[in-house]
């Protein structure tokens, strides 16, 4: 049998298909690959939009990053948020999925509801949660009604509370996604496994540990990786909810890049932070994926 490429010889009749395919790749190169290298180049300059041309400054931007307190706190907040939200969203997602998996009642309805936060834009999510969390908002109203809190709590006005609030909102958004992914994985576990486990005398906790957790391992890999990447590039929800405040407590690195570029007009410095965020995302995504993949094999 001839290799397939034989059927796709350089003949004029394939020109049209080649052109469309090439156009797709070209656009990808122009709007992702080239920009990454442009950003890399900018990170060694003092480029700003107010003057034409830019000077080569070597590693000045990178050495400035080492002493940038705002950058340090933004990275700390971003990593803490990514870690916390990923853990919470995956635990909640798996728990939700197991509950839904076992309820006959309106499983479809619940699944539909679970995924809704994913569908609504981050801007709307941010505004709705803002009305819940503000000082005269709905949550404090509820707390006052139920006499759980004597004083209204300033959820978005105190640094630590604001960080917690942002975490709750982002976990809420992601839980919808993780629920659906875990649900699909649970649906595919053969019943015989649990039958066999029961016959072998495994109690429900052991069944969970030895069967459920292992069988959903591939789902965990996907779900954790995507949760982490999502938080690393998150912008809209935080921008609407807190704009990075109070006192930059909820400023993520992604937001700091935008602020540096468009508020402070320092394109060069913003690019060097962007390079850092890119490296951070790559390291986290690749290492987490490889660790979890290995875990899948071990299980």
């Amino acid at each position: 049998m001839k290799p397939l490429s034989h059927w796709f010889r350089d003949t004029s009749q394939d020109l049209g298909l080649r052109l469309i395919a090439a156009l797709g790749l070209l656009l990808y190169l122009v709007f992702i690959v080239v920009p990454v290298f442009m950003s890399l180049r900018s990170s060694f300059t003092d480029e700003n939009p107010l003057k034409s041309g830019s000077n080569w400054v070597g590693f000045a931007n990178y050495s400035e990053m080492l002493h940038d307190d705002q950058l340090r706190s933004s990275v700390g907040f971003t990593l803490a948020l990514a870690l916390g939200v990923t853990v919470v969203a995956n635990v909640v997602g798996l728990a939700f999925a197991m509950l839904l998996d076992r309820t006959e009642l309106s499983y479809r309805v619940l699944r539909t509801i679970a995924f809704l936060p994913q569908v609504i834009s981050g801007v709307i999510v941010g505004f709705v949660w803002k009305t819940i969390f503000t000082e005269d908002g709905l949550l404090n109203d509820l707390l006052a009604r139920t006499h759980l809190a004597a004083q209204p709590v300033d959820w978005l006005g105190k640094p630590h509370l604001a960080q917690l609030s942002v975490g709750v909102v982002v976990a809420w958004v992601l839980s919808g996604f993780t629920t659906v992914v875990y649900l699909a994985a649970l649906q595919n576990i053969p019943r015989e496994l649990y039958d066999a486990g029961a016959i072998d005398g495994a109690n429900s906790r052991q069944q969970f540990r030895m069967i459920t957790l292992r069988m959903v391992a591939p789902a965990t890999t996907i779900s954790v990786t995507i949760s982490l990447i999502t938080v690393l590039k998150l912008y809209d929800v935080i921008q609407v909810l807190t704009s990075g405040g109070p006192a930059n407590a909820t400023q993520s690195t992604a937001q700091y890049i935008v602020k540096m570029a468009f508020t402070n007009d320092r394109f060069g410095y913003a690019s060097s932070i962007a390079m850092f965020l890119l490296a951070l995302s790559a390291v986290i995504a690749l290492s987490v994926t490889s660790v979890l993949r290995r875990r899948e094999v071990d299980l």
Partner: protein, 312 residues
């Protein structure tokens, strides 16, 4: 907020190995219980817990819906109550704003989404068809490069993208925004979904069409595209949702002078000044209803796309 997910493997892989079935070494005296899983109902306590959890989970959505139809006084009196005196006042106020926030925003977002998706589908699909018929090392390299596109934070490429668009004289314009949508992570996502489906298309079909004298373009458009319709549905649905909800790119690529998409419009007008609850929830309800209705109408494909799509 977008969650991009593709993976070369599905979340629901069949087990790589069959379980060791019931061993005979059973502890005596332990009754054999029926399977702990399966479609049996939960105990009442756990069912209650499930319902409570779900209620807490949906409360923000519930609040938006009920308060969109309540008078301000009723909202302040009890935000969580269902609308006792339902009113359409909030919605009509939202729709009769002098700045036409919702009408313009929805229209502009629709234009961007339709143009982007209509162009991304053939680009992604043709590229996938072409690359999936290649058995070379180059293919792996290209796919790896595309995988990177799913991971790169948009903030990293935003500034250079604006510079490139300026060079093309397309900065601060809708064509520029649409063009930048065609080349980003969206293209990667389309390619990964399509490649998964293209692999399932038997080579014989392509060969037969070849022998009949069909060109590559014709084979792709008349034979392959109908075969990968589920992939097209997945790609179109998810890309529409993400592009519709995109905020960062419209905010900085369009800028404030070019009219607003729904997300940037909301951010500007709602974020600028205090408005009462009724107005706010009315606007949020109308702004959010389109993707939600679309999702409810197509949720089968939606969930299928989430969980299959990448299955080999």
């Amino acid at each position: 907020m977008t969650v991009q997910h593709t993976s070369s493997r599905s979340a629901a892989r069949p087990a790589a190995h069959r379980p060791a079935s019931a061993r005979s070494a059973r502890s005596p005296g332990r009754p054999v219980r029926p399977a702990a899983r399966g479609r049996r109902l939960l105990s009442p306590a756990r069912l209650t817990l499930a319902v409570v959890l779900v209620l807490v989970f949906v409360s923000p959505i519930y609040l938006t819906i009920v308060n969109a139809f309540k008078k301000e006084a009723d909202i302040v009196a009890d935000p969580a109550a269902p609308p006792v005196h339902p009113t359409l006042g909030n919605l009509s106020t939202a729709l009769s704003r002098p700045d036409h926030l919702l009408q313009l925003g929805l229209r502009n977002s629709l234009i961007v989404v339709v143009c982007s998706v209509v162009l991304l589908v053939p680009l992604g699909s043709a590229f996938s068809f072409y690359i999936s018929r290649r058995r070379t090392r180059a293919r792996a390299a290209v796919l790896a490069m595309l995988a990177a596109g799913l991971m790169i934070p948009p903030q990293v490429v935003l500034l250079p993208t604006i510079r490139i668009l300026t060079f093309l004289h397309l900065d601060h314009s809708y064509p520029g925004l649409i063009l930048s949508n065609l080349g980003g992570g969206y293209f990667s996502f389309a390619v990964f979904v399509y490649v998964g489906f293209m692999r399932a298309v038997p080579d014989e079909i392509v060969e037969a069409a070849r022998l009949d004298g069909a060109g590559g373009l014709r084979i792709w458009w008349t034979i392959i595209m109908p075969l990968v319709r589920p992939a097209t549905a997945t790609v179109a649905i998810f890309l529409s949702l993400w592009i519709w909800n995109d905020f960062l790119n419209p905010q900085f690529i369009l800028g404030p002078l070019q009219g607003q998409t729904i997300t940037t419009g909301l951010y500007l007008s709602v974020g600028q000044f205090q408005m009462d609850y009724g107005q706010l929830f009315g606007i949020m309800f109308l702004a959010g209803i389109i993707p939600v209705v679309g999702y409810l109408a197509m949720q089968k494909q939606f969930i299928a796309g989430l969980t299959a799509g990448s299955a080999k």
